[in-house]
């Protein structure tokens, strides 16, 4: 469904990823692992069209070369970005509404908003409050819900557990798990190796813009020891 072939990602003159090939099939959950600065966010940015890149990225048979951010989103690519980037000056409900900006089925949008409100009652309670007043974990849930409001074909999730308390992390991973069970295709970036591998069908391990290793859950788990030295996170 999503294929990256020898992709190089640039931030101005800086090359952050030096030729990466990644493949995500329909319904799969693929994880990108790696320490800070490895180029995980850069890779997602290149897919979403936010960062410039060379090499080939295809999605559902479309070559993404030359397509703008909004055109890629309209093909079904949704990004829940690093740092969440909720619209803190809009209400919780408006954040969800804007997530569905490309949809025309108003009743469907309304029922999806209701679905998220029942999944996360706290979003319902604060639906008319500025989203900036939500806690970090609540904002993360809103970010994922906002991305899914467009009914995407693939969800790019950048470090959803970053900076959150263990209990909240668990909730987030449970949510990703249930999305996966519903058949959503997910490309997940995580530093939380253990939890991420539990969800993943396949994984790629990056370091300083290079691919270190790739494989299915078992292969990567076996290499866990070397990974934990890279990521600095204990792999138990």
């Amino acid at each position: 469904m999503l294929e990256l072939h020898n992709v190089r990602v640039y931030h101005g003159p800086i090359e952050a990823v030096h030729g990466l090939s990644v493949s995500v099939s329909e319904g799969q959950c693929v994880v990108l692992l790696g320490p800070n600065g490895a180029g995980k966010t850069s890779t997602l940015s290149a897919i979403a069209g936010v960062a410039s890149s060379r090499g080939q990225i295809t999605f559902n048979g479309h070559d993404l070369e030359g397509l703008s951010i909004e055109e890629r989103q309209r093909l079904g690519i949704a990004l829940a970005p690093e740092g969440r980037r909720i619209f803190s000056n809009l209400s919780v409900r408006e954040n969800l509404l804007i997530g569905a900006a490309t949809r025309t089925d108003r009743p469907g949008v309304a029922s999806d908003i209701d679905y998220w409100f029942s999944t996360f009652p706290v979003l319902h309670e604060r639906s008319d409050q500025a989203a900036g007043t939500l806690s970090g974990g609540e904002q993360q849930m809103l970010t994922i819900a906002r991305a899914l409001m467009s009914k995407p074909r693939i969800l790019l999730l950048d470090e959803p557990s970053l900076g959150l308390a263990p209990l909240i992390c668990k909730q987030i991973f449970a949510l990703i798990d249930s999305l996966k069970a519903q058949g959503m295709t997910i490309l997940l970036v995580e530093q939380n190796v253990r939890d991420a591998l539990q969800l993943a069908d396949y994984g790629y391990m990056l370091n300083s813009g290079n691919l270190m290793s790739e494989g299915d859950r078992e292969t990567l788990s076996r290499q866990g020891a070397s990974m934990s030295t890279l990521t600095g996170i204990n792999h138990t």
Partner: protein, 298 residues
């Protein structure tokens, strides 16, 4: 008492005009980070279109007003398409220099293609006649101006709060890239911002014309300067700030007219800017400057 009421109306109508102008600047700035100094030339374009319509088509004031509004909207959208879109993602100083360049080019075009001298446009004078309400002499223009501005602001608030485009525009003032990541076309959001800005410029143009009765190449310079000051005063990028700044500037100006002795009349502007400067010492980012993101953005 009459005098006081007259002066309050004065302040309100000046303030309304400045608020319309400042909103036009602020709505573009809030989304693009661009101070559009060519806003003044959009106002002037509206003025020249009144002349064109009157001499080529009809002097019917209704047609002249609608035509000027349309021309201002079109001029604003066209300017974005031709001049600002190519530098949209360049840094802020490039945009600023582009705006200055466009402003000068347009002023010179008016000068070369029309006339360096003022052209009289008198068919809007009818908006401005004195009436007596409860024994107080007031001008209808002041009432029209204040009421129109109030309606325009209300409509703008409804648009920004209720329409999906309005929500996208508010979101874009915070994080334009994220709005694009929602699949919303950047070009549309920007075009609508410039269209709204142009419409506000057109409204202001009508009232300025009804008062001045003539247009010249620098017609828009003074209005855009006032709009800029009002924006700075209210907090650049904040729409409520632009409205507040506009009305505050109007009040300060009228206050100076009332308080300063006749012999100091020529120094009115200096006193006005002095007070503005004092307010900025108190609130360096303007009174309602948009809140800076606080805390970690992780």
């Amino acid at each position: 008492m009459d005098y006081a009421i007259q002066q309050v109306l004065n302040a309100l109508s000046f303030g309304a005009e400045y608020a319309l102008l400042a909103l036009g600047l602020a709505i573009v700035f809030s989304i693009m980070g661009l101070v559009n100094f060519a806003h003044g030339e959009i106002i002037a374009a509206g003025g020249y279109s009144m002349f064109a319509i009157t001499s080529l088509l009809t002097g019917n004031p209704f047609v002249v007003i609608v035509g000027a509004l349309l021309v201002a909207v079109l001029a604003s959208v066209l300017l974005e398409r031709v001049a600002f879109r190519p530098v949209r993602y360049a840094d802020a100083s490039t945009g600023l220099l582009t705006a200055f360049g466009v402003s000068m080019i347009l002023q010179n075009l008016f000068l070369l293609l029309v006339s360096p001298r003022p052209i009289a446009i008198t068919n809007l004078y009818f908006l401005n006649w004195p009436i007596e309400v409860a024994g107080v002499q007031i001008s209808t223009l002041q009432v029209f101006e204040t009421v129109t501005t109030a309606i325009a602001i209300c409509l703008l608030v409804v648009f920004l709060k209720k329409s999906s485009f309005g929500i996208a525009m508010r979101a874009a003032s915070l994080d334009f890239e994220m709005v694009r990541l929602m699949g919303i076309r950047a070009n549309r959001v920007v075009a609508v911002a410039f269209a709204v800005s142009g419409l506000l410029a057109g409204l202001a143009c009508i009232f300025i014309m009804a008062r001045r009765g003539s247009v010249d190449p620098t017609f828009g310079f003074n209005p855009v300067l006032k709009a800029f000051v009002a924006c700075v005063l209210g907090g650049f990028g904040s729409l409520p700030g632009a409205v507040l700044g506009g009305f505050l500037l109007g009040a300060i100006e009228v206050g100076m007219l009332v308080l300063l002795p006749q012999s100091y009349g020529g120094m009115k502007e200096a006193f006005v800017f002095g007070i503005v400067a004092l307010i900025l010492v108190w609130r360096p980012d303007g009174i309602l400057s948009p809140a800076v993101e606080k805390g970690d953005k992780l």
